[in-house]
Amino acid sequence: MPQRAWDQRDLRQDERRLCDDRTMTEGHDNPLESYVRAALALQGYTFDDAEIAEIVMQFSRLEAIAQTVMQWPLPFASDPAPVFRP
C-alpha cells in the first residue's frame, strides 16, 4: 500500500488510549468487569454473579490477546480484509 503523508502519524498512541479507556470505568475494582457488566446489559443478557465471573475471565483472555492486535503498527489508511463482493 502506498504511504500517504497522513500515514506517517503514529496512531498507536491513539489506539492504545482507546483501548485503555476501560481503565477510566468506575464502579468496580476490576475495570474489565465493569465493562463486561455494562456490555451484557446493553446486549440484553441476564446472568448471575457466578456466570458473570466466568464471562469476565473469558473476556480478560480476549482482552489480553487484543492488546497484541491493538499495539500492532499499521498505516493509518490500511484497509480491513475485504469480504463483501457486490
Binding site: V36, L62, A66, S78
Partner: protein, 481 residues
C-alpha cells in the same frame, strides 16, 4: 491392493479400508461391487466406532441406495464417476437431506431436518461417493479437542487415552482408524489440520473461498473453510477436485473455474521451499520440530524464513473468531444459555461483547499479514511448518507445555494453524511420525506437517504431499488392534 486389507500379523492386526483410488478402480474393473465394499465398510464401522465415538449418525440406508446406483451404472455399461462407490462421511455441520444438522450442539437438536444436501455433499454424491454417516465434532466448531459435552469425546485411534483433536475430530479419527478413505470437515482456525496432525491422516484446507460453504453450518464467516481428510494424497486430490467449482449461494466462494489437482501430483523442478522459523519454531516441541525436519529433508528444503506477523495474525484471528462466533449465537445465548456446553458458552458470550475497534483493527492486521505472506511467496513457492505444537494430548489435559511455556490445550493446539487460516492460504497437512517423546506411547504418535502454498496453489501443496508420501515420510499407519 485389496479395498479392505489386513496390515500386520498376529497381535495388533488391524483391518483398514483401502484408498479411494483403489476402491474406485476395483469397482470400475468389477473386482468388487459397491454393495460388497459398503458391507465391508459397515463392518469396520460397527466394530471400531463404539470405542472411538466418531459417528453421531449413520446413513446406511442412503448408502445402500447410492451403492446400488453405482452397481447399476456399471451393470448397464455406463461410465462411472471418479469416486464411484467410495464410502465417506461428513462432520455433522454439513447439511444432509433429511437429517438435523447438529454442529455438535444440543441447541440444534430440535431443528428441522435439512431440506437438501450441502453443496459439497451434493458434489460428492455426483462424483459417485457413498455417504455412510455424520461425524462428531467440537460443539459449534469452537475448539481443538472434540471433547463434546453433549455427544461425547472422540478418541484418538492410535492411543485411546488421547484426544482426536478438533473441531473435526470425528472426521480425522474415522480415517485414522481405517474405517473410511475420505471424510469431510471444516477449518476455521485449524479444525482440519489439527485433528489430521493428531490422528495421523492427510488433510486439505484449501484457499479461503475455494470450496463452497452453502449448506454448511457457519461459525466465523471470515475464516470458515471446508475440505477433505483422506488416507492417501490421491484420495485427497480426487475428493477436492470433485468439490470444486463456483457457487453463487456462498458469497465468499470465489467464482473460479475448476482447477484439477489430481491430474498431476508432481512437484516442479527447482521448487523453492522455506522452513518457517520464529513463531512456528518457538511453538513446536521437539517432536513437532522433528516432523518438520524429516519433511524438510525429504523435500530438499534447507532455508529458514519467518512470517513476521504470525503472532499478531493469530491474535487477530482470535479476536475476529470471538466476535463473529459470539454475534452469531447471541440470540440463543440469551434464551438458552444452559443448553450450551459449559466449555463454550462463557467464551461465546465474552466474544459477543468485543468492541468494534478490536475487530476492525484485527481485520486491518489480517490484511497486513496477508501482504507479509505475499512477500514471502516472492522468495518461496511453498512454506512448511508443524501442524500442531505437539502430539495428541491426553483426554482432559487442560494445559500444553511447549518448550517451557504453558498454554490452554483447547486453544493452544491451534497456535500453529491459526496464523495461516487467518490469511486464507491453502495447506495440505501430512502425517509424519517423528518417534520423539518422553514415553514409548508418545514416541508412537504422529505430528503432522503443514505444506503451505500461495493462494490458489492447492496443487503445489498436494504435489509436495505426494512427494513425501512416495518417500515414505508421510504415511498412514494402521491403528493398534
Amino acid at each position: 491392493m485389496a479395498a479392505a486389507v489386513c496390515i500386520g500379523s498376529g497381535a495388533g492386526v488391524s483391518a483398514v479400508i483401502g484408498s479411494a483410488a483403489d476402491i474406485a478402480q476395483q469397482i470400475a474393473d468389477g473386482t468388487r461391487s459397491a454393495a460388497a465394499l459398503l458391507k465391508e465398510c459397515k463392518a469396520l464401522i460397527e466394530a471400531r466406532d463404539p470405542d472411538l465415538n466418531c459417528f453421531t449418525a449413520k446413513t446406511f440406508q442412503r448408502a445402500e441406495r447410492e451403492a446400488a446406483a453405482i452397481d447399476g451404472l456399471r451393470a448397464a455399461g455406463k461410465p462411472l464417476p471418479p469416486l464411484a462407490g467410495v464410502p465417506y462421511a461428513v462432520k455433522n455441520l454439513f447439511d444432509v437431506e433429511g437429517m438435523v444438522t447438529l454442529a455438535g450442539a444440543k441447541i440444534n437438536a430440535g431443528n428441522a431436518p435439512a431440506a437438501a444436501d450441502a453443496k459439497i455433499v451434493a458434489r460428492m454424491s455426483r462424483a459417485g461417493a457413498v455417504l455412510v454417516g455424520a461425524l462428531n465434532m467440537e460443539e459449534l466448531a469452537y475448539g481443538f479437542l472434540t471433547e463434546n459435552h453433549h455427544y461425547g469425546t472422540t478418541r484418538n485411534p492410535h492411543d485411546r487415552t488421547r484426544g482426536a483433536g478438533g473441531s473435526s475430530g470425528g472426521s480425522a479419527a474415522a480415517v485414522g482408524a481405517g474405517m473410511l478413505p475420505i471424510t469431510l470437515g471444516s477449518d476455521t482456525s485449524g479444525s482440519i489440520r489439527v485433528p489430521a496432525s493428531l490422528c495421523g491422516v492427510f488433510g486439505l484446507k484449501p484457499t479461503y473461498g475455494r470450496l463452497p460453504r452453502s449448506g454448511v453450518y457457519p461459525f466465523v464467516n471470515s475464516f470458515d473453510h471446508v475440505g477433505p481428510f483422506a488416507n492417501s494424497v490421491l484420495g485427497l486430490a480426487l475428493s477436492y477436485d470433485a468439490m470444486q467449482g463456483p457457487d453463487p449461494a456462498d458469497p465468499a466462494c470465489a467464482q473460479r473455474a475448476i482447477e484439477p489437482a489430481g491430474v498431476s501430483l508432481s512437484l516442479p523442478r527447482g521448487i523453492r521451499i522455506g522452513i518457517l522459523g520464529g513463531w512456528f519454531h518457538e511453538w513446536a516441541d521437539p517432536a513437532a520440530r522433528r516432523s518438520v525436519q524429516l519433511a524438510a529433508a525429504a523435500l530438499g528444503a534447507t532455508e529458514w524464513t519467518e512470517l513476521k506477523s504470525a503472532e499478531v495474525a493469530r491474535a487477530a484471528a482470535y479476536i475476529i473468531t470471538g466476535a463473529e462466533g459470539g454475534a452469531l449465537h447471541r440470540p440463543r445465548l440469551i434464551q438458552q444459555y444452559e443448553d450450551f456446553g459449559p466449555s463454550s458458552r462463557a467464551r461465546l458470550v465474552a466474544g459477543s461483547l468485543i468492541p468494534a475497534t478490536w475487530v476492525i483493527q484485527a481485520q486491518r492486521v489480517r490484511q497486513q499479514a496477508y501482504a507479509d505472506a505475499m512477500d514471502l511467496f516472492e522468495r518461496f513457492d511453498l512454506l512448511i511448518a508443524a501442524a500442531a505444537p505437539a502430539v495428541a494430548p491426553r483426554i482432559g489435559q487442560e494445559t500444553l507445555v511447549i518448550n517451557g511455556r504453558s498454554i490452554p490445550t483447547k486453544a493452544g493446539l491451534g497456535v500453529l494453524t491459526q496464523p495461516i487460516s487467518c490469511i486464507g492460504l491453502p495447506v495440505c497437512t501430512v502425517p509424519v511420525w517423528p518417534g520423539e517423546g518422553e514415553s514409548p506411547a508418545e514416541r508412537a504418535l504422529p505430528v503432522g506437517v503443514q505444506l503451505i502454498g500461495a493462494p490458489w496453489r492447492e496443487g503445489m501443496c498436494l504435489a509436495a504431499a505426494r512427494t513425501l508420501e512416495q518417500a515414505g515420510i508421510a504415511e498412514i499407519r494402521a491403528p493398534p488392534g
